[in-house]
């Protein structure tokens, strides 16, 4: 509510300035068909501009426009070479938005041959059939509507929530063996089905860097050799981890990769989500990566979905609680799994 009022006041202020009638002196200096028109206004705003609309003789509505900033406060200078004789009309516009004023000058190029000065008054563009504060109210209404519309769109977007459709192809790993512990078995089963090679290598690299943390930067070639990960593949994985703020790197001699965060705060779940997306066993149980099953009739009564929610809870319970540091310490790992 407070910001609504502030926004409205901001727009209210747009039209608050009182209208002013501007006087101007025009010094017209002519040499051949070359015109120097120098306009002096009472207002001396250094950011103000003067628009000159130069209309050709013969009643054509085609015009040439020149916008000139103030050469010194309140002074605007136009130079123009007329391509032909005749009556030329120059319209001048000055001021901003609703506070815009205009004046016209007619020049007969055939007649005048000497310099002269003319004093005229700028007319306001705005009709005055209503008090000027009505404009301010109009801007305030716009501010309110803008704010309300943005709030509405924001609320709708928050309702939708993000949900990715995962199309990453899983790499089936046969090396994972079931464990006697039920939770571990469940975890291994899920990982066996859905963990990609990329995510697995990323985890391996992070665990390695965590173990060797004291040594400072470590070369890619060393990680690749020690963990049996193809070097090119590892480069792209480490770059992605760096882009997500988990690693830091340094080029050149003494360079390499090292952990940018405490290994206690890097969780398996986070790393797997970076490379593989959802941790949920089926997309309709995901929160951030939700997708309804194509053949679904009613989500609320779907038995498979209910079971998979339980599976998901078990997965999250392990992956979002297991940090890279836990893997190094076997006691804390057992605590999580039990």
């Amino acid at each position: 509510m407070k910001s609504t009022i502030l926004l409205s006041l901001l727009f209210l202020n747009v039209a608050w300035a009182a209208p002013r009638i501007q006087m101007m002196d025009m010094n017209i200096d002519r040499e051949g068909k070359h015109l120097i028109l120098e306009v002096h206004t009472e207002e001396q705003n250094s950011l103000a501009e003067m628009s000159f609309y130069i209309y050709q003789p013969g009643g054509s509505r085609d015009f040439i426009r020149r916008i000139v900033p103030a050469s010194s406060p309140g002074v605007y200078r136009l130079e123009y070479t007329f391509p032909q004789d005749g009556y030329w009309e120059i319209n001048l516009r000055h001021g901003i938005g609703l506070d815009r004023y205009y004046a016209g000058v007619d020049l007969n190029i055939d007649d005048f041959s000497q310099n002269y000065t003319r004093r005229t008054v700028f007319q306001g563009d705005l009709d005055t059939r209503a008090p000027r504060y009505i404009q301010s109210i109009g801007f305030a209404v716009f501010g309110l509507l803008l704010f309300t519309t943005l709030m509405l769109i924001g609320a709708i977007l928050r309702f939708i929530k993000p949900s990715d459709v995962i199309v990453n192809k899983p790499v089936i790993e046969n090396t994972v063996k079931p464990h006697c512990n039920t939770k571990t078995y469940l975890l291994q089963y899920i990982l066996m089905v859905s963990l990609t090679q990329k995510a697995k290598y990323a985890l391996k690299a992070l665990v390695f860097l965590s173990k060797e943390q004291q040594r400072g930067p470590i070369l890619i070639s060393e990680i690749s050799e020690r963990e049996h990960i193809p070097k090119k593949f590892l480069e792209s994985i480490l770059l992605e981890l760096k882009n997500h703020g988990l690693l830091q790197s340094k080029m050149g001699k003494g360079g390499g990769y090292w952990l940018n965060k405490d290994p206690n705060s890097i969780y398996f779940g986070h790393v797997i989500r970076i490379f593989d997306g959802a941790l949920a066993p089926i997309p309709c149980t995901a929160k951030r990566y939700y997708k309804r099953c194509d053949e679904c009739i009613d989500e609320n009564t779907c038995e498979i979905r209910k079971v998979m929610f339980t599976v998901k809870a078990a997965i999250l319970n392990v992956l979002d609680k297991t940090s890279i540091a836990n893997t190094v310490n076997s006691d804390s790992m057992n605590d999580i799994l039990d």
């Binding site: 609703l98 815009r100 209503a130 801007f139 949900s163 939700y290």
Partner: protein, 315 residues
């Protein structure tokens, strides 16, 4: 969903109508409320409003993206379209009253005009959201193309705020032209480049350019029928910005750098156009407009990113 193509056409017709209306104001002036461009705009928005109500009534699926109001299910995107169309139509009499009170020739950035533009932009964003949600529910090419089309029209509506500068009759200082031309394209381009990484922003910029050429043709036709003057707006060149947006988003460049890059490209690719069209981009205006435009471009990049974060995506 049959409603979406009608809404997409409605958004483009609205764009043609508003540019036509501005040309009418510049060259003919304004006599009554019921000028041909006004009739064109408001009858079009009435069709959009009716179609959005029809869409809301017809589509009451138990879909995950539908808003729940007790027993009712409302399509999230169509609700936004309805809001935008209603805003335009509800404030049409207020616009007429404003012209009667304050004269024909007030600026495009007058309060009631801004309300109208807000309505059009909102409705177009609603169309974009509807298309994308439909695409997520059923990945069909038609929904992908309507999404790209809506994003191109959203880009068109965001550039409409520059119309006075494009028509060469600005009521505000020139630095606004530089500032907004640098910044505004970033929203739509970042949004689509993140949603559809396969040259989404480039395709959007191309469709936008084609739409603007269609608009030019439309203004030639209305002018030849004495239904407008000869004024033609300049067409902003945004294809390079689209290409860069795709490249930067694909490379996962930090957002601030993406916003900065797209803003710089929008400015640089339009600089020759500004010189050719005699836009009077003087040094003082550049000093103010360009840095502010780049900052705004970065901010709008973040805005687009935060919108995308709330949308479902394919990876």
């Amino acid at each position: 969903m049959g409603v979406l193509p009608v809404l997409a056409i409605g958004s483009v017709i609205g764009l043609l109508g508003v540019y036509w209306d501005i040309a009418w104001h510049i060259d003919i002036g304004r006599d009554t409320f019921f000028t041909p461009p006004h009739n064109f705009i408001y009858s079009n928005m009435l069709i959009v409003l009716v179609m959005s109500v029809y869409g809301l009534l017809r589509d009451r699926r138990e879909a995950p993206f539908h808003l729940r109001f007790g027993p009712f299910r409302l399509h999230a995107g169509i609700v936004i379209v309805f809001t935008g169309a209603a805003l335009v139509l509800f404030f049409a009499p207020a616009d007429d009253m404003w012209h009667r009170l304050f004269g024909a020739d007030i600026t495009l950035w007058g309060p009631m005009h801004l309300v109208g533009l807000l309505g059009f932009t909102t409705a177009t964003f609603g169309g974009l959201l509807s298309s994308w949600l439909e695409y997520m529910l059923k990945p069909s090419r038609i929904f992908l193309w309507t999404t790209l089309f809506f994003t191109a029209t959203l880009l068109g509506w965001s550039m409409l705020y520059l119309a006075e500068f494009e028509y060469n009759v600005p009521a505000f200082p020139i630095f606004w032209h530089i500032l907004l031309l640098t910044a505004l394209p970033t929203v739509a381009l970042v949004l689509i480049a993140k949603l559809y990484p396969f040259y989404g922003a480039t395709l959007t910029a191309l469709i936008f350019t084609l739409l603007r050429f269609a608009l030019m043709l439309w203004l030639f036709v209305t002018s030849s029928q004495n239904l407008a003057g000869d004024s033609q707006p300049a067409i902003p060149f945004l294809i390079l910005s689209g290409l860069l947006a795709d490249f930067l988003i694909k490379r996962k460049t930090p957002l601030w750098l993406t916003g900065l890059g797209i803003g710089s490209m929008s400015f640089l690719s339009n600089l020759p156009l500004a010189l050719w069209q005699n836009f009077s981009w003087h040094i003082q205006a550049l000093w103010i407009g360009l840095p502010l435009g780049l900052l705004l471009s970065i901010a709008l990049g973040y805005l687009a990113h935060s919108v995308v974060k709330h949308l479902p995506r394919q990876t």
